[in-house]
């Protein structure tokens, strides 16, 4: 068990080490890709093997890392439970498929940069898996930050493009802002409880032995998830992160890393459950994020950015479920969304690969040119819109049921409206890009098999999970009886809106935009949130930086320069006692002995 889990974690790490330390292999490109793919493949096999054996109880292995007098201060180890195992399978599966897909997608790259890509991919897989397996907050934080680093490296993979470099920095900064809260929260929690360990914390929570007044602490920890999982108001980095290669968007900014925040909240749920105000906040912010992002997705014209806003919106769904005290619903949606969103991104990648543009206004009738890609994109769209019997229907229903049962009326309304908008904006993309009447330029054709097979695997899984849900009736037990009908009706309404506007053209989009005038205006400008963040960043951070810069340059540097000059001079003076003459050395011994005697007399 432990060794299998270590294999899951260790294989990508070994691949990373090999690629990082053997430049010839890395610069070979294709060889590096093979090493990385083989490692993640092995990791996937081990994860599946672990997952298929039913787990009796949570398995925790710890190795003491930083010994301290009363018990180790920090351990490292593995925390294996059903949720973690499912997450391991999801991460390794999507990572494996994405790495295979990238083989063909990035064929235009030079071998060294391909090798660099796979080195980062291996490091990312290791970091994400380490995060999932972490048995305490410190290990989680370490891998959390490693994941952030990989995200930065991969968004900025094409670092010679200014937009990509800027987006990488923006993503890093924004998530760091949440991480400040995360770190502070972890330390406060440690001060209050004396441990970082999940098992000990959960045991305390179960026995109601947690100290009172943890609300601020848990809020700070939640801030980490706000950054990582792109919740309002820190969601601004995710759409820009689409500057990275599309497979990266599929893996990191759709299926796995952005889900880390949701995963952390589900993992630490017993602690959040002890602070109802924070839980309520999580639900409200989640629902609001879902709605806000959905409206922005409706006016976006870049296919990847539509999907990015949709990811933000769906992350809001997951958070709302977690806030409604239903972590299992949140996690269920995380898994189904991870699969079909990866599918959508990879399919979008195939489209971009074929037509050479991201703009959906320049696409059209692609379904006839790319029948395979079109089919799988449609499967993903239907799942995302929550159409029976695809996986998205069941997980979305679980989320809505949880929020309804928690008597969160307004968030429920926001999520219901989001469901309608989701279907609308996704089918807007489908009708504009895959149907319609505009002929695309060139001769687009379906992706090669290396790219198509991962797409089909994800599509099949999306259908299979849905069909399994339909057959077993899982997830819907606690839902009100009217919910499936309402949720389907909302989705149908959304599709209807898209159909009449973009396919049948009974209503012109411009007229619709005029009717919703101010809203459309605001959504197009992203509600001014990006501008506000930029203004805060420029004003506050730059202002403060200038002040600190002045203090540093003139006061601190001055002091340091004086001190270091004195130090250097002292070193130079002291060096002169080293005369090179043996008799002086012997005097040194005599002087030293005398000093020892004097010291012993002074401090009697």
């Amino acid at each position: 068990m432990t060794s299998l889990a270590l294999a899951v974690l260790g294989l990508p790490f070994l691949a990373f080490l090999l690629l990082a330390l053997a430049p010839p292999l890395r610069r070979h490109g294709r060889g590096a890709a093979l090493v990385s793919i083989a490692a993640i493949g092995g990791s996937l096999a081990a994860a599946l093997r672990l997952w298929l054996v039913p787990l009796e109880a949570t398995v925790v292995r710890r190795w003491e890392w930083i010994p301290a007098e009363d018990g180790p201060l920090v351990s490292v180890g593995l925390y294996i439970d059903p949720v973690g195992l499912a997450m391991l399978v999801l991460v390794t599966l999507v990572a494996f498929l994405v790495q295979v897909y990238s083989w063909a997608y990035l064929e235009g790259e030079t071998p060294p940069s391909l090798g660099r890509y796979y080195t980062y991919q291996s490091l990312f897989a290791f970091s994400m898996l380490g995060l999932v397996l972490a048995p305490n907050f410190v290990q989680m934080l370490i891998f959390w930050e490693l994941v952030g680093l990989c995200s930065y490296l991969l968004i900025g993979f094409w670092y010679d493009r200014p937009a990509a470099a800027r987006a990488a920095v923006k993503a890093f900064w924004t998530t760091r802002l949440g991480d400040v809260g995360f770190v502070t929260g972890i330390v406060l929690l440690w001060r209050a409880t004396g441990t970082f360990d999940f098992t000990a914390l959960f045991a305390a929570a179960a026995a109601h032995r947690l100290p009172a007044g943890l609300s601020l602490t848990m809020f700070l920890i939640y801030l980490g998830a706000v950054g990582k999982s792109a919740q309002f108001p820190l969601h601004i980095w995710l759409p820009d992160a689409m500057e990275g290669p599309t497979p990266v968007s599929a893996l990191i900014h759709a299926a796995t890393m952005v889900a880390a925040g949701v995963f952390m909240v589900t993992r630490a749920f017993p602690l959040f459950a002890a602070t109802p105000p924070v839980l309520g906040l999580i639900a409200w912010v989640g629902a609001f994020t879902a709605l806000l992002a959905a409206t922005m997705a409706c006016v976006e014209t870049d296919i990847k950015r539509v999907l990015a806003y949709s990811t933000v919106s769906q992350l809001g769904y997951m958070m709302a479920a977690a806030g409604a005290a239903a972590p299992q619903a949140a996690f269920f949606h995380l898994v189904t969304h991870g699969l079909f969103k990866a599918l959508l991104f990879l399919a979008a990648g195939a489209v971009i690969h074929a037509v050479g543009t991201n703009d959906i206004r320049e696409m059209g009738r692609l379904f006839y040119a790319l029948p395979q890609t079109g089919t799988v994109f449609l499967v993903g769209t239907l799942a995302l819109s929550g159409i029976w019997p695809l996986s998205g229907f069941f997980s979305k229903e679980a989320v809505l049921a949880a929020v309804w049962n928690a008597r969160l009326g307004v968030p429920f309304a926001m999520l219901a409206l989001t469901a309608l908008l989701t279907a609308a904006y996704m089918f807007r993309v489908v009708f504009l890009a895959f149907f319609g009447d505009r002929q695309p330029g060139g001769h687009p054709h379906d992706a090669p098999a290396v790219m198509a097979v991962p797409l089909w695997i994800l599509a099949i899984l999306t259908v299979a999970i849905g069909v399994r849900g339909a057959l077993t009736g899982e997830g819907g037990q606690s839902a009100p009886r009217w919910l499936p009908a309402v949720s389907l009706a909302l989705a149908a309404a959304g599709i209807g809106v898209a159909l009449v506007t973009y396919q049948l053209r009974l209503v012109s989009p411009a007229a619709l935009a005029r009717a919703l005038g101010p809203l459309d205006f605001m959504a197009r400008r992203r509600y001014g949130l990006d501008a506000a963040a930029a203004a805060v960043y420029r004003g506050l951070v730059f202002g403060l930086s200038r002040l600190i810069g002045w203090v540093d340059r003139y006061l601190v540097d001055g002091l340091v320069n004086v001190l270091s000059a004195w130090t250097l001079r002292a070193g130079d003076r002291l060096r002169r006692i080293q005369t090179g003459r043996a008799q002086d050395y012997v005097y040194g011994i005599a002087v030293g002995f005398l000093l020892l005697l004097i010291a012993s007399q002074i401090w009697r």
Binding site: Y585, V586, G592, F593, L595, L597, S600, I602
Partner: protein
């Protein structure tokens, strides 16, 4: 198992090397070295598997956890030193390879006995057995005037400090009326002034061996002139032996009187840290730089000793192991670079990262460890030593130590800058002998593994130090 098992092993190995050297003739250089290395491999394995517990000579010689920990350290570092010496060019030896390895082994034997000695006479004899071969080894390149001069200085200063120590021992015996260390410890009750005087003289003698400021003066000259693989070993193994002997004399069984030493050793630690670090700053010769930085490290170990507690002592042991890997590794890289470039000046390191990236990474890891950067071994070593001092209430010393790590980083990073930022003077990579590569890899592994997972060694060190108090 007799408590002398490992010492007998070393003595046997000496006989074998001697015999092989006698029948070897001209081709014996490589052979005696290889035999020494092989024998040490066997002895290291034995040190980690055999359990030579017990005592002999009425308690004059003990084989306890501390002795075992120390002997593993001596044997391991000597193995690295011998392996590194195998790659020395032939003209260094001039058909005297057998002498070189025999001297090394007899010094090793002295250290091993020293770690077990609990009687003043045995201790002094072991101390001399350890020291005298070192003087000869320091002047081994006898056709080079600097080496001869350095060896002579080393010898002069060494004999003077031995004399100071012997003088002190006579006072100790005169007051305590016994040469057995437990008896001396008991006699310290009431702190008779003559006994304290005698022990301070002993401390001065050991101050020379561990190179504490201002007994350090022989260090830079000797390090600069002697052959580097030997210096790498000289900079760690005899120092470790000196510390173990200090534990035996000043801490073991002394009980409450132990606080007597705290201010004196703390003062010694403070001047050593300051002196070593400041004098390292202006150095342009890498070996001299490492010599002074090594003095500063001794200061940090003295900080742990000044805590006069079980945890402080254990952390000195941990520090010693971390220091063995980082310092030996750094010296070995210096040897590789200096042999290829023909200079020990800092400039030899220019652009090393472009010429031999792996060698540069290894050196960077050693420097980071010496500088005490997290997640390499030296970080934990410094942290734990300062922690122990803080527990003992020596906050001023902790502050001083922490401030001077910044100074230390300055000169370590000067080397890193040469390697990574400055352009190379020549493009071709630096040749690396296989045995030398093996040594560097072992040191890198030691630094990295201890940096990531320090706890097994910390616990072992705590166990080794637990019986002293």
């Amino acid at each position: 198992m007799t408590p002398f098992a490992l010492e007998i092993g070393v003595a046997l190995l000496m006989l074998i090397v001697l015999g092989a050297g006698l029948i070897g003739g001209d081709g014996g250089r490589r052979r005696t070295g290889a035999i020494t290395a092989l024998g040490l491999v066997v002895l290291v394995a034995a040190a980690f598997t055999l359990r030579p517990w017990g005592s002999a000579g009425g308690g004059a010689f003990v084989s306890d956890r501390l002795a075992r920990f120390a002997k593993r350290l001596f044997l391991g570092s000597t193995l690295i030193g011998v392996l590194a010496s195998l790659s020395l060019p032939g003209e260094v030896f001039r058909r005297r390879a057998t002498e070189y390895y025999l001297l090394l082994l007899s010094s090793l034997l002295g250290m091993m006995v020293l770690a077990s000695a609990r009687d003043l006479i045995l201790l002094f004899v072991a101390f001399e057995l350890m020291s005298i071969p070192l003087y000869a080894l320091a002047g081994f390149r006898k056709r080079e005037p600097e080496a001869v001069e350095a060896a002579l200085k080393f010898f002069l200063v060494g004999t003077v400090s031995s004399a100071v120590m012997a003088y002190g021992l006579s006072f100790v015996y005169g007051t305590a009326a016994t040469t057995a260390l437990p008896g001396v410890a008991r006699a310290l009750e009431g702190q008779p002034p003559l006994l304290v005087f005698g022990l301070l003289a002993v401390l001065a003698g050991f101050g020379f061996k561990i190179a504490a400021f201002p007994f350090h003066m022989w260090v830079p000259d000797t390090y600069e002139a002697a052959s580097t693989p030997f210096v790498a070993w000289l900079s760690v193994a005899p120092k470790a032996a000196g510390f173990v002997a200090l534990f035996r004399i000043f801490l073991e069984g002394v009980g409450d009187q132990v606080t007597l030493w705290m201010p004196i050793i703390a003062a010694l630690a403070a001047v050593t840290i300051v002196g070593g670090n400041l004098m390292a700053l202006p150095q342009q010769n890498v070996k001299r730089l490492l010599a002074y930085s090594g003095i500063a490290h001794i200061g940090y170990m003295l900080v742990g000793l000044a805590a006069v507690s079980a945890s402080g002592t254990a952390m000195v042991l941990f520090y010693l192991v971390a220091y063995v890997f980082a310092n030996m590794g750094a010296f070995l890289v210096v040897e590789v670079v200096a042999r290829s470039e023909g200079t020990e000046h800092l400039n030899g390191f220019r652009g090393l990262a472009q010429r031999s990236p792996l060698l540069a990474v290894a050196m960077l890891l050693f420097l980071l460890s010496l500088g005490g950067i997290p997640f390499v071994a030296g970080f934990w070593a410094k942290l734990y030593v300062l922690w122990a001092a803080a527990e003992a209430g020596l906050y001023w010393l902790v502050l001083l130590g922490a401030i001077l790590t910044v100074v230390a980083l300055f000169y370590y990073l000067v080397i890193a800058r040469r390697m990574y930022i400055d352009p190379p003077t020549r493009p071709e990579p630096i040749p690396l002998a296989p045995t030398m590569a093996l040594c560097v890899i072992v040191c890198v592994l030691g630094v990295v593994v201890l940096g990531l997972a320090p706890s097994p060694l910390v616990l072992a060190a705590l166990r080794a130090a637990s019986r002293l108090f």
